[in-house]
Amino acid sequence: MLKRINIIRIILMLIIVLAASIFIPDFYWKANKHEINRTSVYYSPIKKSFVLLKSDVRGVNYTDIKGKQFSRDEFEELIPFVNFRQLMLMGKLPDTIDGHSIVPREINLNNVTLRVNPIMINSRPLQLFPLFESASGRVRLELSPDYFRIGKRMEFVTSITNEVNEEKSQLFTSALQKEGFSFPSKGIYGNPTTKKPFDEGYFVIDNSNKVFHIKMVKGKPFCKNTGIPSSLGIVFISAVEFELREFYGLIITDKNEAYFISYDNYRLIQLPVKDYDHQENTLQVRGDLLYRILVVNKESGFNTVVTDRNYQVVDRYSERWPGKESSTAGIVSAYIFPFTIAIEKDTTPFINFYFKFSDLRCLFLSVVFLIITVFYLRKKNVATKKMGYFSVLVLLTGMYGFIAVLAIKDFDDDPSIPKNS
């Protein structure tokens, strides 16, 4: 009976360790909020170099990479493609830049922006999507009366009746089968909103990792095997509908590569991204009339690459700043927390127990707690064997284990050891 109770005591201690390792660091970091470095990087076609917009609690700074400061107006003139409307208003938009004549409508058409962060990659939305009529002849897209899923076949469910539209389902399923689609799908990527200029449908990865392009054109299925290699290891496709019609979307692979799917028969254009971890970093791709700029954002820095319109690298830049770990709070946390557990992470929408371990620095405090624990347990006349278990716990879990030992309060001390109180 006593043995069972001791096992339960250990379970309680482990639960206390769990709770402590979640809430104490959580509170600690709330109290020591790390100031986030906000830097936006642009490439100036005027200066032919990078310019930076840094904002923090004190205000906004406009600089170049050598640290030269600009006023807001000067800065905006350096990046005319970004601010062309403002410059037009001020009458400061140049007629030509770098030999190209500048037409506002062209600037607008060529301005594109894409963003992929780990949460998007790790999300699992409901695999139920609207298939718009992409050639309706109307200016605006209209919401479809049904939604599709791709399981054992492609099925359309009419919303109002919540029933399957057999005819439409059969029609699309045969079209897919004809193209060699392997059911079920592994991923469906598109923009299920009518708030876009036109509709390019969805890019769908089938069961054998082939990529298909699926649309509805005048009520008929458009299903095409894109020919994108199934060995690519695609983890995410950010589908876009830009008037520019240069690319359908951005592919991210498990090898941290990034590719555009071009309108030229789905030919892949590899983007020269470097030092990118799709599970940890955010990738921004911005484009204008002359350049493509790729920015990889991390917690402790960024790196950026600029290419010309043919995706040849023109320039690179990167910056590092001390991350959370190198701040004072971060260094202290490495000493006081042997590990931390969080149930939420900012790189995934899913709840789980996310462990983060410190390094050997935590041993200092763990040993101190161990010594205090041994004295404390001695005073309570705890048997040596039990003291051994608790000591191991405190050594491994530091302050959490110490709190757990204190919380237990009594241990059914060994009655053969004489008491002093």
Binding site: I11, A19, I351
Partner: protein, 222 residues
């Protein structure tokens, strides 16, 4: 003898159980009518699209009701036992104390599961009737941690009530609040998809602490 114990627990909490069942039913009906009205105001395809795109948890009203149900059932089942230490009466019965505790808690958990199954069944009917099956599947995994959390709340309440020592009770309350809050985190659909079983396991481990409280009760305040 187990039958008699079930009879005793039932006598104690039958009205609370009924009240909680009615409360849960009303909340689910509220969800149903809200959904119905949403479909009346907006067309079905708009509703489905918005729900999918923004992960709208249209049944979120039940989230904290499930916690509340576990809490209230625990309070009303345990308070009469602790009031004037009636637990001594129960422990004096010619059955091993741990068995008595286990049976008592089983009755509470089974009653909770009955209410929760009832909720789940109603919500399932609503989902299946109005929405494509993806919503039904997603609803199950989204609500699972809330149900388990309700049971975990009940279990901690039993532990806290039985523990005779006020310091240990306070510690239990702190730990309970922390642990239970873990079941009600996250927004949107199915955020516990990869960890639901860990939380079931955690609840199982928490339930063992009831026996430590019972042991402390038997040992008395010294």
């Amino acid at each position: 003898m187990f039958k008699s114990l079930v009879f005793k627990e039932w006598l104690k909490i039958r009205w609370v159980f009924t009240g909680l069942a009615i409360l849960n039913f009303l909340v689910v009906m509220n969800i149903y009518f809200d959904l119905l009205n949403t479909f009346k105001v907006y067309s079905a395809n708009v509703v489905v699209g918005q729900f999918q795109a923004y992960e709208i948890v249209f049944y979120s009203n039940i989230e904290y009701i499930l916690l509340f149900t576990g809490l209230i059932l625990g309070v009303f089942q345990l308070f009469p036992e602790i009031n004037q230490t009636r637990l001594k009466l129960t422990f004096h019965l010619p059955v091993k104390e741990n068995k008595l505790m286990f049976q008592m808690v089983s009755v509470g958990v089974l009653l909770l599961i009955t209410i929760f199954l009832f909720d789940a069944a109603l919500l399932s009917i609503i989902c299946i009737k109005f929405l494509p099956r993806e919503f039904f599947e997603s609803m199950l995994i989204t609500t699972l941690p809330w149900y388990v959390g309700g049971i975990c709340t009940y279990i901690w309440l039993v532990t806290i009530f039985i523990e005779p020592n006020w310091v240990k009770r306070t510690i239990s309350i702190l730990v309970a609040v922390g642990i239970i809050s873990l079941f009600y985190a996250g927004d949107g659909f199915g955020k516990y998809a990869f960890s639901a079983w860990y939380f079931v396991l955690l609840t199982g481990f928490c339930s063992s602490i009831i026996f430590l409280s019972a042991y402390n009760f038997k040992r008395g305040i010294c």
